[in-house]
Symmetry: C2
Subunit: 205 residues, 2 copies
């Protein structure tokens, strides 16, 4: 791609560093900015800069937060003996959206993935183990993606916790509500039969 | 979408102002930035800001340029009696890539589109007409997208030029090189038969 302007080229190159944004999309976005008022681009640039500079992570759960201890961790109405282990802030948002969970979270910051060079030391696993060691945690709920990396991470943490008094559980895997049975993949369907639950308890939720 | 941080929320909101980027994609991009070194986000923000602030448009053809008269317009080897009328800088880049055109460009900055509230006054049509009035232009090549808006814009300019000595042409519409005949839409195929060219001249290109 040959550009008639170095300024344009630089902006496109920087934009195309973002995941899923190629040069063509970057050019489309940058040209859009040129058609909008100058203030809009400035606001975007400032928002990104300020965010990157000033954002904090909760010292307890590692979730993104503007304060040292996030609103969830500092909420006295939440059950601090119940901790839901998730990959990142998007999972916290998704679970919070359901209003089904009243415990605290622990954000790992990713999952163990040797292919991407991410080992246990790159994640907030140590601080989770420490929390359990210190006592006061009754149950850990593993809510990682049902992928090989997610399962590996679950198992690694589970192993680290051997010998400590803590219950561990994973979120249920089964057929999505509203999905057709025939289109469900075999592994999910197979597991959903193995992990069947009493009909009475399905009536409660 | 509920955010645990105002800084994050603001960054996501600003990003999702861009066309084709929804809140979820914006969140994904912003979280990616948080995992990258701080410098990378700063470079992006600066590149966007500087571009928006300092970018210039060629005074002759309205193409994006870092100098007052762009490299194409100031190149003495190019034929200034031949002007190719295009929508935006991407079209200039695409045509330049072919190395098939040795004339100058005139960038309209869009096309007439009443649905989007874009009229002739919002485009650089007047300066094009002025160029023709002043003489020295032998041929205008309309190279706008073959859509209703593109055709409307072509026709509007064509009408404005009535009475002036200038040839007008549009780029050929037909079957793309390498495409299967059977998958070509009817309008394109129909036009390609009406606008057939002598076999000898197809051998030359």
């Amino acid at each position: 791609m040959e550009f008639s302007s170095k300024l344009l080229e630089r902006a496109v190159n920087e934009m195309s560093q973002l995941p899923g944004i190629g040069k063509r999309t970057a050019l489309r976005l940058v040209l859009h900015m040129l058609r909008q008022p100058e203030a809009q681009t400035f606001q975007l640039a400032d928002a990104l800069k300020t965010m990157r500079q000033d954002i904090k992570f909760c010292k307890n759960c590692h979730n993104i937060s503007d304060i040292d201890i996030c609103e969830i961790c500092s909420n006295p109405h939440r059950d601090e003996t119940l901790i839901c282990v998730v990959e990142d802030v998007r999972d916290v948002m998704a679970i919070e959206n359901t209003s089904s969970f009243k415990g605290l979270y622990h954000v790992l910051g990713g999952k163990i993935s040797p292919m991407d060079g991410i080992g246990p030391a790159d994640l907030f696993i140590e601080s989770l183990v420490l929390k359990v060691k210190e006592g006061g945690v009754k149950e850990l709920i593993f809510a990682l993606s049902p992928t090989m990396e997610g399962d590996t991470t679950n198992f690694y943490i589970y192993k680290q916790l051997q010998g400590y008094q803590v219950e561990t559980s994973t979120i249920a895997r089964g057929i999505s509500v509203g999905n057709e049975l025939e289109y469900t993949d075999e592994i999910t369907l197979g597991r959903s039969i193995l992990n069947r639950i009493p009909f009475e308890s399905s009536l409660k939720s």
